[in-house]
């Protein structure tokens, strides 16, 4: 016989309590956009209402105006082009050298024995400090600037590369050997593609280093360049233009990060 239905009422509110929530934070875009908008509004208000001295802290609107003026006069593109040229050449040179050394350290005992202590010893030297030396050796022109950037990119790239090569699973290399692949083929088809994720993440670091060093390198003898723009705007007491230059630098950094992200997504689809 079925039990009386009088228990139906209490059955309905006796559910098993839910205990598995939380500890899974997700990023939504809304709060970030609002936070940025609020910050910028507060900043503008601080300057407009004279809480902050407009002489030393230009308002967002003034920075925007300075940026527009630079773009309209065409000067901005000259500065960006000059910096990008130095970054591109320096980064390519440093990356080529760093990858060559890093992969060699990853593959060959002699390279590793010599290379790892050398890199560890020279890596910590701030490349900015070497700039006067490079000027002495290469002159005040582009070579000393490119050399500073290249050297700054070389070391983290070498470190990332040999770490990435070390992280290629040995089982895949043994598999390739067991199929009789020659050494060059194993490097080309197993080691390098396997090291690519580590190498690409090393690029993120080396790209931001290149950006920092281009500003330092443009301190001597650079009429054009974003770093030069920031520097001489400071000398001219044009703080609005200075911060406009800083904004451009940040934008440059964001673009580079975006491009690298895209590259990673395309090349590492197999992960």
């Amino acid at each position: 016989m079925k039990p009386p239905r009088a228990e139906a009422q209490s059955d309905a509110d006796r559910k098993v309590p839910f205990r598995g929530g939380g500890f899974a934070p997700r990023i939504t875009r809304g709060p970030a956009v609002i936070a940025f908008a609020v910050l910028i509004a507060l900043w503008q208000a601080a300057v407009s209402w004279r809480i902050a001295n407009p002489l030393f802290l230009p308002s967002p609107i003034e920075i925007g105006r300075a940026l527009y003026a630079l773009a309209a006069s065409g000067e901005l593109w000259l500065h960006i082009a000059a910096s990008l040229r130095r970054i591109a050449i320096g980064w390519l040179l440093g990356t080529a050298g760093g990858l060559a050394l890093g992969v060699a350290i990853g593959l060959f005992g002699l390279a590793r024995s010599v290379g790892v202590p050398l890199v560890s010893a020279l890596f910590p030297i701030p490349k900015i400090a070497l700039l006067p030396l490079f000027i002495l050796w290469f002159g005040i022109g582009e070579p000393s600037k490119v050399a500073t950037i290249a050297l700054g990119v070389f070391f983290p790239t070498a470190v990332a590369a040999f770490g990435a090569v070390d992280n290629v699973p040995r089982s895949l290399i043994r598999m390739a050997q067991s199929f009789g692949l020659p050494f060059a083929d194993i490097v080309r088809k197993v080691v390098l593609p396997g090291a690519l994720p580590g190498i690409l993440s090393g690029f993120r670091i080396s790209a931001s280093i290149a950006l920092i060093l281009v500003v330092a390198a443009e301190m001597i003898n650079a009429q054009y360049g974003i770093g030069a723009l920031v520097l001489f705007s400071g000398n001219l007491m044009r703080t609005d233009q200075l911060l406009a230059g800083v904004v451009v630098l940040s934008a440059l950094g964001l673009v580079i990060a975006f491009v690298l992200g895209r590259l990673e997504r395309r090349l590492l689809r197999w992960r």
């Binding site: 895949l172 043994r174 598999m175 009789g180 088809k189 396997g194 689809r269 992960r271």
Partner: protein
Amino acid sequence: MELVVDGVGHAYDGLAVLDGIELAVRDGEVLALIGPSGCGKSTLLGILGGMLQPTRGAVRLKGDPPAGTLNPFTYVFQDFALLPWRTVEGNVSLALEHHVLDAGERGAAVDEVLSLTGLSEFRSALPKQLSGGMRQRVGIARALAARPAVLLLDEPLSALDAQTRDLLLEDFERLWALRRVTAVYVTHNLDEALRLADRIVVLSRRPGRIREIVAVDVSRPQRGVATLAGLRDRLWRLIRDEAASADREIVAHEAA
């Protein structure tokens, strides 16, 4: 071609894992190697294919590999060892790219093994899209593409669940019937060995010595639970105490 294992012993850093192995791998046979964990079966397999150099003894070849052999000693791995960035097709063709074949010949060879292993419609898939069983089929296809003289399988089904294992065992049986190749098959699973092997080499616990070699006289079509029961008992009795003491040894070793 026959492989003769002549007094092979191996030690890692002073720890002996194989001792005095004398063995012949006959042409066209499937030889299973079973034994408890740590008995050196995978080590012996590595030595057989030239991936490991034994600290004592040697493996000798009698006769030549059959005509058309591309990679005489070819492995199938427990963890599949597929290149994650290559498709199924790319992984299989890896075995052939460094041999002297033109693109047409290579393409035909790849197509052939893909259809043999039932992978034709998965040729453009990436390993991450495949189940464990499918991945191992790619490993087998790759190994077959290399036209091996001796196929060396290192616990190929250990990483798979029981149902997938049964499916793949059926595939193995089918492939063996189509394309006879000498094979050395390492496993710790008695039933696998009994289903597939012509002879079963039972290794003792570490250091691995040959305990006994058991011939599986039942013809393949007739192999079933009933027909293999006697052999299974015999093998289990052989392995059981080796397995039990190996088990305890490992625990004691770790505690020390």
